[in-house]
C-alpha cells in the first residue's frame, strides 16, 4: 500500500519520466517525439525543446526544512535507467553528509591527516552541534500501476570501496530483488532525514543562512566497467548522471529560496510554511539555499549570438552595492565561455552571495552557484569578480561536460581555472594586489603590484610549491589532500595556458570548443580530450600530455653561463709556416659569444634561446631541450648583452623564471639596494611599533 503522499511523489516522478521519454529517447531528440505524458505533468512542467542529455537519473523530491531543529525531512523517487550493456543487480547511493557525521569519516580523516596543527586542533574541537548526517529511513522499489512497493530498507548497507574504513557511511549499496537489464528503468523511493551541518565543505548552515548541497541520497554512476562510486574524499568533489529534477522545498514563509532550476509559483501551506517548486532538465545535481535576509536582484544577460539568460542574484544586504559587479562577472562568464566554448543553454542562472563566515562561497551546482565577496571590497581588486566568473564558468565544464570529478578533477577545475583567468582578464585587464588588515576586515590595495593572468591567475605560486606532490593522472581522490588543489587547479591551468602559447589561442580555442561540442552531457575521459587536441591541432601532442598529466616531473630551464669577448688566441700558432708564440692576440674584429643553457628539471620541453647584442641585433635559436645542457656559440661584430631561454615565456610550468636569463650588465645590486631600502623603512616602523612597549 502506497501512502497518499508517496503516491503524489510517485505520480509526479512517473509524470516527469514519461514526459521526457526517459527510457527510449535518444539524445537531442525533440521532446515531442516522446511518449505522451500524464495531464498532471503537462500542467506543471514547461515542455523542453531539446533533450540534451541521457536523462537516466531523475529525481522527484519533496523536502521540508525545520530551522528549529536544523533538520531536513525528505522523500523522493529516483527514476534510474541502466545505460550500460550489462545488468545491474544493485543501486549505489551517495550519502555525502555522512562525511560530516563524525571525525572517523574518510573525509574528515583525510582532512585531519593533511591539516596544519592549528587546523587540526580547530577541526577536533568543533562543537558537537556542528556535525550533520543523513539517515535513510526507507527504500522501496516501486513499480508502475497498482503493484505494491518492495521494501528494500533492510538490505541497505554502507560500503567503503576506496579505503575500507568501516566508519565511513558516505556510500551505501541497495541490493535489488531482480537485476535491471540494459535500457531498463527502475523507480526507487527513498525517505530520509538529515541534520544540516554547520558548514563543512561548502554546505551547511550558519545562523539563518542555509546553503544545501549534496543533501539528498543520490544514485552513483554505473559505467561499462561497473559502478564508478567512491566515498566522499577531502580532495575531490562529485560525479553523477544527468536527469530531470522536480523538487518541492517547504521552508518558513517569508524566507527567500534559490535553487537549481526554474522556480514555479510558490504555494502557501497555511501553517507558516511555503512550498517552493523547482524544475530542471539535463542537470546532474540539485542544490538550494534559503534565508530570510536575502535581497533579490534580477537582470537579463543578452549578447549577440548567444541565447539570453535570466540572472537571479540573491544578495546579502550588506553587499547590495556590489550587485552590478556580480552581474558583470556572471555576464562575462556567460559571454566569453559562450563565445569560446559553447552557449549556455538553460536560460536562467541563480547567483548566491553567501553569508559572512558561512564557508559556502565559491561552489558550483547546475544553474546555481555561490560567489563570495567582502563588505569592503575595492573595485580594483577581483573580489567578487574572480570567484563569480569561476563558479559561473563551472556551468560549462562541470555542469555540461560533466567529467568524473572523483577521478579526473583536473578536467573540470583545471580547465575552468584556465578559462576563468582568461575571462577575468577580458573583464578586468588590470587587477591589483591587495592585503587585508585588522582581522582581515580592512582591505588595502597595493597599486604597484598587478596580478598577471599567466602566473597569478593560473596559480603559479601554488603549483611551484607543490609541483611534485602528485601525478595528475592518478585518480584525484587519491591525491594528497593538502596539495591536491595545486595539481588539480593550478598545474592544469598552467599547462593549458602553455598550450595556448604553443598552439596559439585560435587553435586552442578550437580544441576546447570541439571538445565541448562533442562531449557536453557525455562525461568524457582524459583520453577523449587528448584525442580532440591532437585531431584539431593537427599535431601529436601525446609527448606533452605525458609530461604534464602523466608525470610529476618539473620543468626548469636556465642559462648557466654567458660569455662574450673578442676572439683571441694565446699560445703557439702557425704563421708563415712557423710556430709562433702569441699572447692573447685578437683574431679579427669578432666577438665570440658562448651560452650554456641547462635543463635543471626532469621534464622536457623544446625552448627558444634568445641572445641580444650591443648593436641591437638579436639571434634566436631553437633547442629541443632534451640534453642536460647545451653550448651555443655565436660569432658577431657586436658583443652580447644578454641571453634568455624561453624568452616568450611559453613554458608557464617552468618553476624558476629567474634563472632563465643572464646579462653581462647585471642590475641585481641596484635592484637589491632599492628593495632593501624599502624593506628597511618597514623594519624601522616595526621596531617603533613594538617600541610602544618600552
Amino acid at each position: 500500500m502506497v501512502k497518499p503522499g508517496i503516491r503524489r511523489v510517485l505520480a509526479s516522478a512517473l509524470a516527469v519520466t514519461a514526459w521526457y521519454g526517459l527510457s527510449t529517447m535518444p539524445r537531442a531528440q525533440p521532446a515531442g517525439a516522446a511518449a505522451p505524458a500524464p495531464a498532471a505533468a503537462r500542467e506543471a512542467v514547461a515542455p523542453a525543446t531539446v533533450v540534451r542529455s541521457p536523462r537516466n537519473a531523475n529525481y522527484s523530491i519533496d523536502a521540508s526544512l525545520d530551522p528549529r531543529t536544523r533538520t531536513i525531512s525528505g522523500r523522493g523517487v529516483i527514476t534510474w535507467r541502466n545505460v550500460t550493456s550489462h545488468d545491474a543487480s544493485e543501486l549505489r547511493l551517495h550519502l555525502y553528509w555522512n562525511a560530516f557525521k563524525n571525525t572517523r569519516s574518510t573525509f574528515l580523516q583525510e582532512r585531519l591527516r593533511a591539516a596544519s596543527p592549528a587546523d587540526r586542533r580547530a577541526l577536533l574541537t568543533r562543537p558537537l552541534d556542528d556535525f550533520g548526517h543523513t539517515t535513510i529511513s526507507a527504500v522501496r522499489l516501486v513499480g508502475a500501476g497498482a503493484a505494491p512497493p518492495v521494501d528494500l530498507t533492510s538490505g541497505v548497507h554502507a560500503i567503503q570501496p576506496d579505503d575500507g574504513n568501516a566508519d565511513d557511511e558516505t556510500l551505501v549499496r541497495v541490493p535489488l530483488p531482480a537485476p535491471v537489464g540494459p535500457g531498463q528503468t527502475v523507480n526507487v523511493e527513498v525517505e530520509w532525514t538529515a541534520r544540516v551541518p554547520r558548514t563543512f565543505a561548502r554546505t551547511g548552515v550558519v545562523g539563518n543562512y542555509y546553503f544545501v548541497g549534496q543533501w539528498f541520497p543520490k544514485v552513483a554512476v554505473l559505467g561499462e566497467r561497473g559502478w564508478i562510486s567512491h566515498q566522499f574524499h577531502a580532495s575531490t568533489e562529485f560525479f553523477s548522471d544527468f536527469g530531470v529534477y522536480d523538487v518541492r522545498l517547504r521552508v518558513p514563509s517569508g524566507w527567500v529560496v534559490g535553487a537549481t532550476g526554474l522556480a514555479q509559483p510558490p504555494r502557501e501551506n497555511g501553517d507558516g510554511t511555503t512550498t517552493h517548486r523547482f524544475l530542471q532538465e539535463d542537470v546532474h545535481d540539485f542544490a538550494w539555499t534559503t534565508s530570510p535576509d536575502y535581497v533579490v536582484r534580477e537582470e537579463r544577460f543578452e549578447h549577440a549570438g548567444l541565447p539570453p539568460v535570466d540572472m537571479r542574484l540573491l544578495l546579502q544586504p550588506e553587499h547590495a552595492s556590489q550587485a552590478d559587479r556580480y552581474f558583470a562577472a556572471t555576464g562575462a562568464a556567460l559571454r566569453y565561455y559562450g563565445e569560446w566554448f559553447g552557449a549556455y543553454p538553460y536560460g536562467h542562472i541563480t547567483v548566491i552571495d553567501p553569508a559572512w563566515q558561512s564557508g559556502t562561497g565559491g561552489m558550483e551546482y547546475p544553474t546555481l552557484f555561490t560567489g563570495g565577496t567582502r563588505w569592503l571590497s575595492p573595485r580594483t581588486t577581483s573580489q567578487p569578480e574572480g570567484v563569480t566568473i569561476h563558479e559561473a564558468g563551472h556551468q560549462f565544464w562541470y555542469g555540461m561536460v560533466a567529467t568524473n570529478e572523483f577521478e579526473h578533477a583536473w578536467m573540470d577545475e583545471g580547465f575552468n581555472s584556465f578559462s576563468t583567468s582568461r575571462a577575468l582578464d577580458e573583464l578586468m585587464p588590470v587587477r591589483f594586489h591587495s592585503e587585508r588588515f585588522f582581522g582581515g576586515f580592512l582591505p588595502w590595495v597595493i597599486d604597484d603590484i598587478t596580478q598577471p593572468r599567466a602566473t597569478d591567475g593560473n596559480g603559479w605560486p601554488r603549483y611551484r610549491r607543490d609541483a611534485k606532490s602528485d601525478i595528475p593522472s592518478t585518480p584525484s581522490w587519491r591525491y594528497w589532500p593538502g596539495t591536491s588543489a595545486s595539481i588539480t587547479y593550478s598545474k592544469t591551468a598552467l599547462w593549458l595556458h602553455t598550450l595556448e602559447r604553443m598552439l596559439g589561442w585560435q587553435t586552442l580555442q578550437r580544441v576546447l570548443s570541439t571538445y565541448f561540442e562533442r562531449y557536453a552531457f557525455h562525461h568524457p575521459s582524459p583520453e577523449q580530450f587528448f584525442a580532440v587536441a591532437n585531431e584539431v591541432s593537427g599535431q601529436d601532442l601525446t609527448w606533452f600530455f605525458d609530461e604534464v598529466v602523466g608525470s610529476a616531473d618539473v620543468f626548469d630551464y636556465g642559462v648557466d653561463r654567458l660569455t662574450s669577448a673578442r676572439r683571441t688566441v694565446r699560445g703557439i700558432v702557425d704563421r708563415d709556416g712557423k710556430k709562433v708564440a702569441v699572447g692573447a692576440e685578437p683574431l679579427g674584429d669578432v666577438y665570440e659569444t658562448q651560452v650554456v643553457a641547462r635543463r635543471y628539471g626532469e621534464a622536457i620541453f623544446p625552448v627558444d634561446l634568445l641572445v641580444r647584442f650591443e648593436d641591437g641585433s638579436e639571434q634566436r635559436v631553437r633547442w629541443d631541450g632534451r640534453d642536460r645542457w647545451r653550448l651555443f656559440t655565436f660569432e658577431r661584430q657586436a658583443q652580447a648583452i644578454s641571453a634568455e631561454v624561453d624568452p616568450d615565456r611559453v613554458l608557464l610550468l617552468d618553476t624558476n623564471f629567474t634563472n632563465n636569463s643572464r646579462t653581462l650588465a647585471p642590475q641585481g645590486r641596484a635592484a637589491a639596494t632599492k628593495w632593501s631600502l624599502r624593506w628597511m623603512v618597514w623594519l624601522q616602523d616595526l621596531l617603533l611599533t613594538y617600541g610602544f612597549f618600552a
Partner: protein, 349 residues
C-alpha cells in the same frame, strides 16, 4: 616654577622639549639605523644573490616583478621571509599595526631584531627621560652616564612590564579573541559589518588594558628617572597612585599622544611612496621613508617628554630631577693622572 600643566599644555611642552633637543632626536634615529642597517644589508645580499645576473633584475629595479617576488619568497627564510608585498608604501605601516593588533606571530629573525631594539631603547630611555626632565643641554658623556645610571632599574621595570604584557597577549587576548568571547559572540553572525564592529569593540577593550599597563609603566619609568628611584616595583606602585590621582590628565595626555601618532601614521599610509625605481628617485623615496621614521620617533619622544612634563608639573617641580647630574666614570688611570684618590682599597700583597 610653573603651575600644574593641563594635558594640552603638557603635550605642547613635550613637543617643545623634543624639538629643543634635536641631537637626542637625531641620536634616536641613528639608533634605529644601528639596528636596521645591518639587517637591511643582509636582506640586500639575499635579494642580490637571488637575482644574480638575471634579466629579471632589470624589471625588479624598474618596479615590481610579482613573479620574481613569489619565487624569492618561496625560497626565503629568516629575514628574507619578511620581504613581502605589504612592505610597499603605506601597507608597511598598516601591516605592523595590524600584526600587533591581531597578535600575529612574528618571524623569528624579526622578533630577534625587535628584542634587540627593545633592549637598546631601554638602555637609552634613562638618558632620554633624564634629558627631558632637566630641560637643558647635556654632553654626550652626561647622557650616557644617565643611561648607565638608570639602565638596570629600567630593565627591571621592563621585566615586570614584559610579564604584564605576556599575560595580556598570551592569555587575555586568547580569552577575547581566538576561540574566546569574540568567536562565541559572532558564531552565528552572518553579517560582516556586525562582526567588524564586535571585533573593533573587543580590540578597544583589549587595547584599553594594554594602554593601562603602558600608562603605568610609562609613569613608573618617569618616576624612576625623575625621582631617582631604585625599586621598579615601588616605582610601579607610585605610578599607579599618580595615575589614579591624575586619571583624567594622564589619560587625556596619553590619548593626545596616541592621536598624534594616528594622524602621522594615516598621513604616511596615504602619502608613502610606492615601489619606485632605481637612480635618484630611489634616494628621494628613501629620504621620505626616513623622514617618516624620524617623525615617528618624534612622536615616541613626545610621549616621554610630555609625560615627564606633566609629572613634573603635577608635582609643581618643573625641571626637578632628584639625582645629581651623573658623570661618565673615568678610568682609574685618568683619575690617578688628575690626582684623584683611587676609591678601590689596596689589595693585600
Amino acid at each position: 616654577m610653573i603651575t600644574r600643566l593641563s594635558p594640552i599644555a603638557a603635550y605642547r611642552e613635550g613637543l617643545r622639549r623634543v624639538t629643543g633637543a634635536p641631537w637626542m632626536w637625531l641620536g634616536a634615529w641613528l639608533a634605529t639605523l644601528l639596528v636596521a642597517v645591518p639587517a637591511a644589508m643582509v636582506v640586500r645580499e639575499m635579494i642580490a644573490d637571488h637575482l644574480g645576473a638575471s634579466l629579471v633584475a632589470e624589471r625588479v629595479a624598474a618596479g615590481v616583478d610579482v613573479d620574481w617576488w613569489q619565487e624569492f619568497r618561496a625560497q626565503a627564510s629568516g629575514l628574507g621571509a619578511t620581504f613581502v608585498p605589504a612592505i610597499v608604501g603605506g601597507a608597511a605601516v598598516l601591516k605592523n599595526l595590524s600584526d600587533l593588533a591581531d597578535n600575529a606571530r612574528m618571524e623569528t629573525a624579526a622578533a630577534g631584531l625587535v628584542a634587540v631594539w627593545l633592549l637598546v631603547w631601554s638602555f637609552f630611555a634613562g638618558g632620554v627621560l633624564d634629558r627631558y626632565a632637566r630641560g637643558r643641554a647635556m654632553r654626550a658623556a652626561e647622557f650616557f652616564a644617565a643611561c648607565g645610571t638608570h639602565a638596570g632599574r629600567l630593565l627591571r621595570l621592563g621585566a615586570l612590564a614584559f610579564l604584564a604584557y605576556y599575560v595580556l597577549f598570551a592569555h587575555v587576548y586568547g580569552w577575547l579573541f581566538g576561540q574566546g568571547l569574540y568567536a562565541t559572540w559572532t558564531r552565528d553572525t552572518t553579517v560582516e559589518r556586525r562582526a567588524f564592529v564586535a571585533h573593533l569593540l573587543f580590540q578597544v577593550v583589549f587595547f584599553a588594558l594594554v594602554a593601562l599597563v603602558n600608562l603605568l609603566v610609562d609613569y613608573a619609568r618617569v618616576r624612576l628617572v625623575v625621582e631617582d628611584r631604585r625599586s621598579a616595583v615601588f616605582a610601579l606602585v607610585s605610578a599607579a597612585r599618580f595615575v589614579r590621582r591624575h586619571a583624567t590628565g594622564t589619560v587625556a595626555l596619553y590619548l593626545l599622544n596616541t592621536a598624534g601618532f594616528l594622524v602621522l601614521a594615516t598621513l604616511y599610509a596615504f602619502a608613502a611612496p610606492g615601489a619606485g625605481r632605481t637612480g635618484w628617485t630611489l634616494w628621494i623615496t628613501a629620504l621620505v621613508g626616513q623622514a617618516y621614521v624620524a617623525a615617528r620617533l618624534g612622536v615616541k619622544l613626545g610621549f616621554y617628554a610630555s609625560q615627564v612634563a606633566y609629572f613634573q608639573g603635577a608635582l609643581a617641580h618643573a625641571g626637578y630631577a632628584a639625582a645629581a647630574l651623573p658623570e661618565w666614570p673615568e678610568s682609574p688611570a685618568v683619575e690617578a693622572a688628575r690626582g684623584e684618590p683611587d676609591p678601590t682599597p689596596p689589595s693585600p700583597s
